[in-house]
């Protein structure tokens, strides 16, 4: 093949390549053609050879440039095509790993523990089955007190000695009998009472708090409750004490918090009063301290108890206590830390 022919054919091959792959084939073909031309050199005279070689080399270089240029164009085209073909709809939903959820009672329980742990409280979990001594007698509940009635307590033995605890206060006794003051404990857990309606469940959770030390006053109780209220609800939450009665505290107080929805102005949640009843509390009754071998003239203390469901219902706006025990996944999935 003559060089002139090769010049035409090579350019044609290069420009005809539609992809980098075709271009590669074209390149191989062109190289073969050049090889062919070069082989014709042996027919030339010794003098003619350098000039011919120079021409061919120049031509070869030009071809390589031509191929490189073509390659650049094709590569750019191919990248565009790749981009276009790999394009995704970025508004389609992401893929995620679905975590589960802790029960709202656990969440509230943990929040309460966090708040009180910061104030120096440790956590004690007493047994859910109890003796009447720990649940009633040691808590200064007289033998004829109505709460001992079969209507108000689940009993496990005919002699009414063993029962399902009706209050986490039973744990107070176990702690005070085993630990000397200073005592600061929280006792969360299941409690049981024979009630069953929209706001009562035969099983629910309480969180009991107990402080016993020297010189503890009602003012300390109020201070601690204000700290709790501001952390559990909002910093603007106010605490109101009003007289009440529990056998194991004297004085006993009912504790109301200013409504965190309306900030005390009055709304549906607080039934227009601006206050929400949240927990029962008081100064530990001297008889209870005596029953646990703590000298009531040396030490004083306070105790408070709240329903965890009640706090959860207030905090999350759950209106039927049954929701907590039906474990409908649509319910459980809503609660996040």
């Amino acid at each position: 093949m003559q060089l002139d022919q090769v010049k035409v054919r090579a350019s044609e091959e290069i420009s005809a390549a539609k992809s980098t792959k075709e271009l590669y084939t074209a390149k191989l073909n062109v190289q073969a053609m050049l090889k062919d031309v070069m082989s014709g050199m042996r027919n030339l005279s010794k003098e003619e050879r350098p000039a011919f070689g120079k021409i061919v080399n120049e031509f070869k270089q030009k071809l390589e440039e031509e191929i490189a240029a073509r390659e650049a164009v094709l590569k750019a085209q191919e990248l565009e095509q790749k981009y276009a073909s790999e394009r995704v709809d970025v508004t389609m939903p992401g893929k995620k790993y679905v975590e589960g959820n802790l029960h709202p009672i656990t969440l509230v329980r943990n929040q309460l523990i966090d708040i009180f742990a910061g104030m120096g409280f440790q956590v004690f979990e007493g047994p859910e089955t109890e003796t009447e001594y720990h649940n009633f007698t040691a808590l200064n509940t007289s033998p004829d007190h109505p709460s001992r009635d079969m209507q108000d307590t689940f009993y496990l033995t005919q002699d009414l000695n063993l029962l399902l605890r009706t209050q986490t206060s039973a744990g107070q006794i176990r702690v005070m009998k085993n630990q000397r003051p200073p005592i600061k404990i929280l006792s969360p857990g299941r409690v049981f009472r024979p009630d069953d309606d929209a706001t009562h469940s035969p099983m629910f959770h309480q969180m009991e708090g107990l402080v016993v030390d020297k010189g503890i006053t009602l003012c300390d109780l109020k201070g601690m409750l204000e700290e709790f209220a501001s952390k559990m609800f909002t910093s603007a939450t106010k605490v109101r004490l009003r007289p009440s009665y529990f056998p194991f505290t004297e004085p006993s107080v009912e504790v109301d918090l200013s409504c965190f929805v309306c900030e005390g102005k009055g709304c549906r949640l607080c039934k227009g009063t601006g206050w929400i009843e949240v927990l029962g509390s008081g100064m530990v009754n001297r008889h209870v301290l005596e029953n646990c071998g703590v000298d009531p003239d040396e030490y004083s203390g306070f105790a408070f108890g709240m329903g965890i469901e009640r706090i959860a219902m207030l905090k999350y706006g759950v209106n039927n206590i049954k929701n907590f025990y039906e474990n409908d996944v649509r319910f459980l999935k809503q609660f996040k830390d």
Partner: protein, 806 residues
């Protein structure tokens, strides 16, 4: 406890409004649950005098009345169909815009015309005002309520008929039974308003009676159930209706007037909180009263004509030969006061509150009396209740109070005395209440206080009716509730020691445990600690299954909630079924809760409470998803859990594993038996697992140990094996692991059946990781690994007849 405002005003000079009093009561410990204005539905009804009556020109049954309402309103023309009106009658008339009652509804009155004649209002019946004869005599007559002729015209009728009044519905705490009456509340009101308490009259004079006409004998043979019994004979009884003031008081308290004698007993109950009873003396055989426990099988018919069969747990009041009252609950029909009663024996007693409660509950019979006794009636008031009743007999002039007064008293009624320190009271409160204020408050509540010369020690005599007070903290409470809780200023444990708080290791571990499951996609469930014994049958548990040894609740809410659970799966299955029935097709739940394992039945000691984990998953999951969750627990806590084929009566026999920690069985996992699915009508597969948390917790973290990082990378080889169907993945894995020490991991990545794999066989592909010892000086050579593989294949062939796939 319902207290009429007007009645309170008898004992205390109250200048504030009902709403203000509500706030005062609230602050001192008496929450008013409801404050009701009685006249709220009846508005714009005034007293008028009928000055003229004409026949209606176009209606036979209508009359046209001119009614004069005084100078301000003048005369108004009203038509009426009532026939009892007359010129000069004082009547209530609802004028334009007024509201009155029509049955349960409130209706509005407007000016209008009746058959063409102007009628600018409506004359009212008692019913339209919402009142009966006890509120105002004549309120129940058919027609218009005719008011007393001396009633001034133009005034709001509510003030005339007793509707201009409030009812306080007060919650009284269990320690204050003395406040279960109007006088008790009045005492608190007097103290909180700093006003004197005006006591009602208790005086009466006894008259001589001829011979033994009024004689009675009282024996209390069960003083533990009746600490005090006072009886008094009254003769010459004239049964009649009570005066209007007394009837209205009862009506305001929701009690219908019966007769003067019965009304007196009800009045004393409401006023003093002392339940009373009156016997027709002529009906009492043997002229005696015996207070005793009932004989088994003894019967009594109470005033409401219900018959009860009694036991020795019930206290009865008997005459010479039979029960005549169910003590403290209700009188007997046989000795009821009738219009023919001539002599009455009044009873004022204290009965033991728990006995009354138990009898009332057991028989399903209760009354205003039993409600008071259940809360507690003090032996001191027993005497005053009787005195008050006798005073009223004389005031109403309905009988002759005799000198026959019998008092069986086994109670101490002197009232306690104690000493208390002002400083200690203040130390408990944390504030300084001035000593004078403390003394004033206590005195206003009828405590007798003398302050010692030291200015600190007080001698205090507690009122006899205050059985709840027994120490200085009680006095501190009396002081602060009257002084005001708003004086309590918050402090933060000023004198207390600093303590360090927070969770202990076990408690932290539990939180981590729950979070591991949460991160595996499981939601935490909480279920009741009790379920139905039927669960054991549903779960096909054999008769001797240990799970059937469950603690029974003596007084459950129902059989379905009667057994303390011994394993959690039945509760979890309940959750799954409920979710599926509600259309929740997929879900994963876990619960960590106690099971209750009795040492012996019947229980002699508290059952063992063991924390247990239960998993429940359904829908788009399979056995290995749930197993993965269990394995994630093992990973998180470095536990070496192993799974072996097992059996459970409620699980699929081919898809059940027992879970072991070392050699100890700590749980199970499996698919719910399709038979149970069928029985429960569920179509999706359900997986259950249960693990003994307590057993796991003991080993948690103990398996964690640092190993040096090897110098040379590991070598991986894949093995395609042909095994008999019965050979398990676990067996092959164990064989490979045991064959060569350098094997660090064996992972199954594919199982294939069919095609070129012969029937009864399966092809299993494993990836095996080899690792030289951390101390090794050079990496594992290809030849060395080839040698390991030959050793492994040899053992597989020998032990399990497993071969390399051709």
């Amino acid at each position: 406890m319902k207290v009429p405002f007007s009645w309170l005003k008898d004992y205390v000079d109250i200048q504030c409004t009902a709403q203000e009093l509500q706030d005062k009561l609230f602050s001192c410990g008496f929450e008013v649950e409801e404050l009701t204005y009685l006249g709220k539905d009846v508005t714009g009804v005034y007293v008028g005098e009928i000055t003229d009556i004409q026949k209606h020109p176009d209606a036979d049954k209508l009359q046209v009345c001119q009614i004069y309402f005084g100078e301000q309103i003048g005369t108004v023309q009203i038509c009426t169909a009532a026939t009892n009106v007359f010129v000069g009658a004082k009547v209530p008339a609802a004028l334009n815009g007024a509201t009155v009652l029509h049955g349960e509804e409130i209706i509005k009155i407007k000016n209008g015309k009746l058959r063409g004649v102007t009628s600018n209002g409506m004359m009212c019946s008692g019913e339209e005002l919402g009142i009966n004869d006890d509120f105002y005599p004549g309120a129940e007559v058919y027609g218009i309520l005719i008011l007393d002729k001396d009633t001034p015209v133009g005034i709001d009728v509510r003030s005339v008929v007793g509707l201009d009044d409030y009812i306080f519905d007060i919650a009284v705490t269990a320690n204050r039974p003395d406040c279960q009456c109007v006088l008790g509340i009045a005492r608190e009101v007097a103290a909180v308003l700093h006003q004197p308490l005006k006591m009602p009259a208790f005086d009466y004079t006894m008259s001589e009676v001829n011979g033994q006409e009024a004689d009675m004998k009282v024996t209390v043979s069960a003083p533990e159930l009746c600490p005090r019994y006072i009886g008094h004979s009254v003769t010459d009884i004239q049964i009649g209706t009570s005066p209007a003031w007394l009837r209205r008081r009862l009506a305001l308290s929701g009690i219908r007037s019966i007769s003067n004698i019965v009304d007196i007993t009800n009045f004393v109950l409401l006023e003093m909180g002392q339940p009373m009873h009156s016997f027709d003396m002529d009906m009492l055989s043997g002229r005696e009263i015996v207070v005793r426990r009932a004989k088994a099988g003894e019967k009594i018919t109470t005033l409401d004509e219900k018959e009860f069969t009694l036991t020795g747990e019930n206290l009865v009041i008997c005459d010479g030969d039979k029960p005549v009252a169910l003590a403290g609950i209700m009188g007997g029909l046989n000795s009821e006061i009738t219009e023919n009663t001539k002599k009455v024996f009044f009873e004022s007693a204290k009965f033991a509150r728990d006995n009354i409660r138990k009898t009332s509950r057991a028989l399903g019979q209760s009354s205003d009396s039993s409600a008071r006794f259940e809360r507690g009636v003090d032996a001191y008031t027993t005497e005053f209740g009787m005195a008050r009743a006798l005073h009223l007999v004389q005031q109403l002039d309905c009988g002759k109070v005799t000198g026959v007064h019998l008092d069986c008293n086994y109670a101490d009624t002197t009232g306690k005395t104690m000493t208390a320190s002002v400083q200690k009271i203040n130390a408990l409160l944390g504030i300084t209440v001035p000593t004078d204020t403390i003394i004033d408050i206590l005195q206003s509540l009828e405590f007798e206080v003398t302050l010692d010369k030291d200015g600190d020690t007080m001698s205090v005599k507690v009122p006899a009716y205050r059985e709840d007070v027994d120490g200085y903290p009680d006095l501190a409470e009396e002081v602060i509730r009257m002084y005001g809780y708003e004086h309590i200023t918050p402090t933060f444990l000023e004198k207390a020691s600093v303590t360090s708080g927070g969770l202990n290791d076990e408690q932290k571990q539990m939180n981590k445990f729950k979070n591991v499951l949460r991160l595996q996609g499981y939601c935490e469930a909480m279920t009741y600690s009790f379920y139905s014994p039927k669960s054991f049958d549903l779960f096909n548990l054999p008769a001797d299954a240990p799970e059937r040894n469950a603690v029974k609740i003596l007084n459950p809410l129902g059989e379905d909630l009667s057994i303390l659970r011994t394993f959690l799966a039945p509760s979890m299955l309940d959750n799954v079924v409920r979710n599926l029935r509600r259309g929740n097709e997929n879900g994963k739940l876990f619960e960590v809760a106690n099971v209750y394992l009795p040492e012996a039945l019947p229980l002699t000691d508290l059952p063992k409470e063991k924390k247990t984990l239960c998993l429940g998953a359904w829908g788009d999951v399979d056995f290995f998803d749930v197993k993965g969750a269990v394995e994630s627990i093992a990973d998180a806590f470095s536990l070496n859990l192993t799974f072996e084929r097992g059996q459970k009566s409620f699980l699929h026999p081919g898809i059940t594993a027992v879970i072991k920690l070392g050699t100890k069985e700590v749980g199970y996992i499996g698919e719910l038996d399709p038979r149970l699915c069928h029985e429960l009508a569920i179509e999706r597969k359900v997986y259950l697992a249960e693990l003994n948390y307590a057993d796991l917790a003991r080993k948690m973290g103990s398996g964690m140990k640092y190993e040096g990082i090897p110098k040379f990378p590991a070598v991986k080889r894949d093995l395609a094996l042909l095994a008999d169907e019965e050979v398990s993945c676990g067996e092959i894995t164990q064989t490979i692991l045991r064959a060569v020490k350098a094997v660090k991991a064996v992972e199954l990545f594919d199982v294939y059946r069919g095609g070129q794999v012969p029937a009864g066989k399966k092809s299993m592909a494993f990836s095996v990781t080899f690792q030289a010892e951390p101390t090794a000086e050079k990496p594992l050579s290809g030849e060395a690994v080839d040698g390991f593989i030959r050793k492994i294949l040899g053992n597989l062939k020998h032990n399990l007849n497993v071969e390399m796939r051709a």
